[in-house]
């Protein structure tokens, strides 16, 4: 299940700056993974040439470290289950991928826990998201927004 902590988070395994964390921890095989290749194409519009080279339509050939902060955070979520990442580094265009990563992890018997400082739009379909602050599971956008705002989490 996707578990989201809204607002400030103090935890030893919380990563506030996933961009920098990615640059110093990523492994080559994370980049060439099928899901990473799809996410990099969708979010950044870029092609993976190899684990350390990306072809960007805007920036030309760039090193992996210059992927967007959003896609770096997604790749971390998919490959590092020990940390809680600051998903405010991700825009709304990352939401469907966060749900896809959650599905992937659930098949391995794992949850995905992230932190958000804004109301990311998870779309109009139903979902199961636990608001970690409240230990409450919500199933659609309306329930999510009401729970977060009514409880003053943001």
């Amino acid at each position: 299940m996707l578990k989201i902590h809204y607002g400030a988070l103090e935890s030893d395994n919380y990563i506030f700056n996933p961009d920098a964390f990615f640059n110093n921890t990523y492994e080559d095989e994370w980049i060439t993974d099928d899901l990473s290749v799809q996410m990099i194409k969708d979010i950044d519009g870029s092609e993976v040439i190899g684990p350390r080279a990306i072809d960007s339509p805007f920036l030309g050939s760039i090193p992996t470290e210059r992927l967007s902060g959003g896609v770096k955070t997604l790749i971390l979520m998919n490959n590092d289950n020990e940390h809680i990442f600051n998903a405010s580094a991700c825009g709304d265009n990352c939401a469907k991928w966060i749900l896809a990563i959650t599905d992937r992890l659930e098949k391995k018997g794992k949850d995905l826990t992230i932190r958000l400082g804004y109301l990311m739009d998870f779309g109009n379909d139903t979902f199961d998201i636990e608001i970690a602050n409240l230990k409450k599971v919500v199933h659609n956008k309306k329930e999510l927004v009401e729970a977060v705002l009514d409880n003053g989490l943001l």
């Binding site: 805007f58 967007s68 959003g70 405010s88 825009g91 265009n93 400082g117 804004y118 956008k141």
Partner: protein, 157 residues
């Protein structure tokens, strides 16, 4: 500082046109729209000037404030346009809010988080969008304001 500042920043690959009207401008929106690249260009120009290959056209000096020694640096800055990326951990601090209130700088802040302690207008929250078919030129697009939240809630009922 008062009034409106037009900022043009470009290298051979990307080109930004920005207009800042008030002391705090917030930049947010989808991932991979060029926000961090904008900060990187300002930073490289600040470090290397024209020899960076970057051009910055603006009626005020532009600078990037990072988490390193931010309080001391900010206390010495005046009449600058200060760019801050979302990776700056001090953004949500009370001390930063106090220093912004007493500052004559303009601030362009990349963040999606709601910075409740900062007195910024909901009319000054922008995103970046491509404005040419070649995707080479970028400019501000207003993407978020107070009505946007209300419309979101209305659409749920």
């Amino acid at each position: 500082m008062i009034g409106k500042y037009e900022i043009e920043i470009y290298n051979k690959r990307v080109h930004y046109f920005l207009t800042v009207k008030r002391n705090i401008t917030i930049l947010q929106g989808h991932s991979a729209t060029g926000k961090t690249e904008l900060i990187r260009l300002v930073s490289e120009y600040e470090q290397n000037g024209a020899s960076s290959g970057i051009t910055v056209k603006c009626g005020a000096s532009c600078t990037v404030l990072t988490s390193v020694d931010w309080e001391s640096r900010l206390s010495r800055l005046g009449k600058h346009i200060v760019f801050i990326d979302e990776t700056a951990s001090f953004l949500s601090s009370q001390r930063f809010a106090e220093m912004v209130r007493g500052s004559d700088n303009y601030f362009v802040i990349v963040t999606r988080d709601d910075l409740q302690q900062l007195p910024y207008s909901v009319d000054e929250i922008y995103g970046l969008r491509n404005v040419s078919s070649s995707s080479k030129y970028k400019s501000f697009k207003k993407v978020y304001n107070e009505m946007y939240k209300l419309q979101n809630l209305d659409s749920l009922t």
